[in-house]
Amino acid sequence: MNVTSAVVLAAGEGQRLRPLTKHRPKPMLPAAGRPILEHVLDAIIDAGITDLHLVVGYKHERVQDYFGATYRGHSLTYHHQHKQLGSGHALLQAESAIDADFLVVNGDQLISHHTVSEVVDAHSVADVATLAVVESDDAPQYGGVRMQDDHIIELVEKPHSSEYRLLNAGIYAFAPSFFAEVEDTARFDGELSLTDTLSNLIEQNELVRGVRTEGIWRDATYPWDLISLAKTLLVRPGSIAAPVVDENVYVNEDAIVHDDATLHGPVVVGADSVIGPQAVVGPDTAIGQNVSIDAGAVVSTSVVDDDTRIGPNATLVECVTGQGVSIDAGTTIPGGTADVRINTTVHEDVSLGGVVADRTHLGGGTTLTSGVLIGPNATIHPGSRVKTNIGEDAEVSN
């Protein structure tokens, strides 16, 4: 059916992406040079839906500052979720603005406009809820789904069982009556989850329509996933904002690339960024805006976010930086597989050089052991060897 309004849920922090989410919510993390949320809004608008509502909460200023009052000429209405009490609670913040069947999308996962269209097309006047279903090996870690014909018969959060091959892609069409269903849903642990409401509907034998889709669906769960998001998008037509200058090489008009610098595609260089002589950038690398990469530096398979400075002859492989990071001359982040520790969990065999969070300063000649997380706002003195994770505001010299 015809749907004109979309509610985008962009209020959550994305705690597993710490330390990158210290100053901004997950939807504002970069996916090949643009926030994830910007790709989401593109998918919605490309599917023909232009009345856009954003539910914002955690570090909402960053969303508002970036997008302002409009995106691609369509006005954005912000709804504030003051406490992050679940996706259902987030949705209720937009209730007053919606009076017809509407789309709901997670603001922190990459989706395709085809999927949005498929969900909207399948949703009918008689339906309360329709959702997109994607086949994926990752289903056990997300919302696992079981279907019968065209409807959902089971919805389980993180089933951790390989029986589940289908996942809930977080793209929904709802009837206005769905708000009342959310309000009637019991809170679990103080939180009100959309999927609990959907499970209740299924239990009550209400028809929850499922739409199997082949469209792209990508999530960044951990910081290193930002590298694979960039890789995916750099070879996906229409995903990169900057003009193409060579095959899979995108350079913004306001960037300055020295004649003696080398760009290996797939790569994107954002506005006002500067690449010095003999620097080598790429492949599989996304450089944000106002970044400096000095002479002779080497950056590959990495995400370098806005305002970051990379000094002469530094090497970054499989690295993710936050914003405003300074990496001084001769620093080495070598890449390779490592066991990465996040809080008390260890993730084995991750390809990750290192994560350097917002406004962290790595002094000249610093060397990182693969897989360490540093910052935000940490200071590493010149010549240090960093072998373990370094927390916020910490100062390290050795």
Binding site: E61, F67, I256, G324
Partner: protein, 597 residues
């Protein structure tokens, strides 16, 4: 000082366009508002107070017709009241006029009309215009000529729009007060400021002084001295929605948060890190003068003080003048002097008059402004745009930051030697450093301790002196609390007598040089009088030791530190005003763009 909107076209109900326009113009003035719609006879509604009062009145009636004008007013003559609101009419309600500016010879015209038996119904200078038009109509003039002959009698500054019973046209004129035409698909628009009709069109024609325009549904005709003038149609890049609050409670906070972006825009393409130089394309034909005079008002004056200090530091004699004092101070303009006007809107009357004065005395002039096509931009020999985007909050925030950067760019262009690498690095780090302050500022918590304080003082030395003045100005503008800025060293020469335990002192101290140490001595002076001290610092000196609260800024080049310190003080003013429940975006008695002298 006021806002004007006009519309001729096929939309059916002009009141919609007029009310939408007035609401975006509201920041220019807001003690009364009104509209006049022509459909055979004239239908007029006007109300004292904020725009809501008029909106209520308009919503209960139906308007139809093809032509209308509207106005929001900020008092210069006569107290705000329904009868002093625009539009003003003649005695028979057949001519309605909205006016922005001041008619200097209105008393003489009023006396003359009164002698002829005309009865005035308001105290305003503007009301002479509809009476003059009506008089000319009675004398047999056609409407266009009646309007033009009336305008010919006026002395002073004006943007005028007039509708006449039975005429599907707007007659308008401009002299020293901004007026812009919009060319839309469903008709023509007229406004004192572009955002008023941006919802409908981006194609605009800027009127020049002395020009008349007649707008009908089919055409617009611009003329000057009786001859038709061909005008360029320009396309503006701002979108109407950019004037929305994007989820913030106040434009001011939105604009404070926009600074990383607006600074990026200001710097984009002007700083080349690889080549190590700063170039401003607009200024390539600007020669280095032997001396520079800055003229500006309010916040822009503080940017002028900063700019003058930088130039003097670079060996070029430079002085900042308050534009309203420039004519009185009457400084000699030596040969080869550049006079720089700093004005956000490019329409500030005091600054424009100082620039015109300088121009008439043969000086080269330069405008540092935010508004493309503004009077300052068009009348000066050179223009440097600060590219901050539209600013709606009356209290200037992002435009001040961009003025400081504009000043830096200008100074680097004027100085012969090449820019130092550290400054270039600091300019490139600026958006990130401002973002760091926005992410981490504790200003909101700091002001909580001072809700009961009597007065607020701001001190700084060198380039932090203008920051102290600006901190105090912002604070007084929107909190309505008494606030003063002083050069730190001046405290002991008088103001210290005001310092008590109930007067918090905000001190700006960065670096660890002589200026910092001297300011720390001044902090100790006020500390000894039990005043609470808030230090804005980059942590290089030990100033924090003497402070009751600290507002931190990132360490940077000394030339950029004032800008960063100012961001903390913007947040201090905002959060204090918010705690006190003030009307932050529209403080009492103030207007955004001051187009009267």
């Amino acid at each position: 000082m006021c806002g004007i909107i006009g519309y001729v076209g096929s939309r059916g109900d002009p009141s919609e366009v007029l009310m939408a326009g007035l609401s975006t113009l509201e920041y220019r003035g807001y003690d009364s508002a009104g509209i006049a719609v022509g459909n055979g006879s004239l239908q007029i509604e006007k109300r004292e107070g904020e725009l809501e009062a008029l909106e209520k009145a308009v919503s209960t009636k139906s308007f139809s017709g093809s032509v209308g004008i509207g106005h929001t007013r900020w008092s210069t003559h006569g107290p705000p009241s329904d009868r002093n609101s625009h539009p003003h009419t003649d005695e028979s309600n057949s001519v309605a006029v909205v006016h922005n500016g001041i008619i200097e010879n209105y008393q003489e015209l009023r006396d003359e009309l009164q002698t002829e038996g005309v009865i005035f119904s308001s105290d305003t200078d503007s009301e002479v215009v509809p009476h003059l038009v009506a008089k000319n109509l009675k004398a047999g003039d056609d409407p266009e000529r009646a309007f033009q002959r009336a305008v010919d009698r006026l002395e002073g500054s004006y943007a005028l729009a007039c509708v006449i019973e039975g005429e599907d046209a707007i007659f308008a004129a401009r002299e020293d007060s901004p007026l812009v035409l919009g060319i839309g698909e469903e008709g023509y628009y007229l406004a004192s400021d572009v955002p008023a009709f941006l919802e409908y069109t981006r194609d605009v024609v800027y009127l020049d002084d002395g020009e008349f325009v007649t707008l009908t549904e089919d055409d617009y005709i611009v003329s000057k001295d009786g001859h038709r003038v061909e005008k360029d149609v320009k396309t503006v890049e701002w979108s109407a929605e950019q004037t929305g609050k994007s989820g913030y409670d106040h434009f001011m906070l939105k604009e404070i948060h926009e600074q990383p972006t607006s600074l990026r825009q200001c710097l984009s393409g002007r700083v080349d890190e690889l080549a190590g130089h700063i170039t401003v394309e607009e200024l390539t034909d600007l020669e280095t003068p032997r001396s520079v005079q800055f003229v500006a008002c309010g916040t822009s004056y503080h940017a002028a003080m900063y700019a003058a200090a930088l130039l003097r530091d670079g060996g070029i004699p430079a002085t900042a003048y308050l534009a309203s004092e420039y004519a009185t101070a009457n400084p000699p303009i030596p040969d080869d002097t550049l006079v720089v006007g700093i004005t956000q809107s490019g329409e500030t009357a005091d600054t424009m008059s100082a620039l015109r004065d300088a121009n008439s005395r043969g000086a080269e002039t330069l405008a540092l402004t935010n508004v493309v096509g503004s009077s300052a931009a068009r009348e000066c020999d050179h223009v440097l745009y600060i590219r901050a985007g539209p600013e709606i909050g009356v209290a200037a925030t992002k435009t001040f930051s961009s003025q400081l950067i504009g000043a830096t760019l200008l100074v680097e262009n004027l100085l012969e030697e090449t820019a130092d690498r550290e400054l270039i690095g600091a300019l490139r780090d600026l958006p990130s450093n401002v973002q760091a302050i926005l992410d981490n500022s504790n200003a909101e918590a700091v002001v909580d301790d001072f809700l009961e304080s009597n007065a607020f003082f701001f001190i700084g030395r060198g380039t932090h002196f203008p920051v102290a003045l600006e901190g105090a100005l912002k604070f007084k503008e929107i909190t309505y609390e008494h606030a003063e800025g002083f050069a730190a060293g001046e405290l002991k020469h008088g103001p210290l007598a005001l310092v008590t335990e109930h007067t918090p002192v905000f001190a700006v101290v960065t670096g660890n040089g002589e200026n910092a140490h001297k300011t720390i001595s001044n902090i100790k002076e006020v500390e000894a009088r039990d005043a609470p001290v808030v230090v804005v610092t980059d942590g290089q000196s030990d100033a924090a030791r003497y402070a009751d609260a600290v507002l931190e800024i990132p360490e940077t080049h000394e030339q950029m530190a004032p800008l960063l310190a100012n961001v903390q003080l913007q947040l201090v003013a905002y959060h204090m005003a918010n705690r006190l429940g003030r009307s932050i975006d529209k403080p009492r008695n103030l207007a955004k763009s001051v187009t009267v002298e």
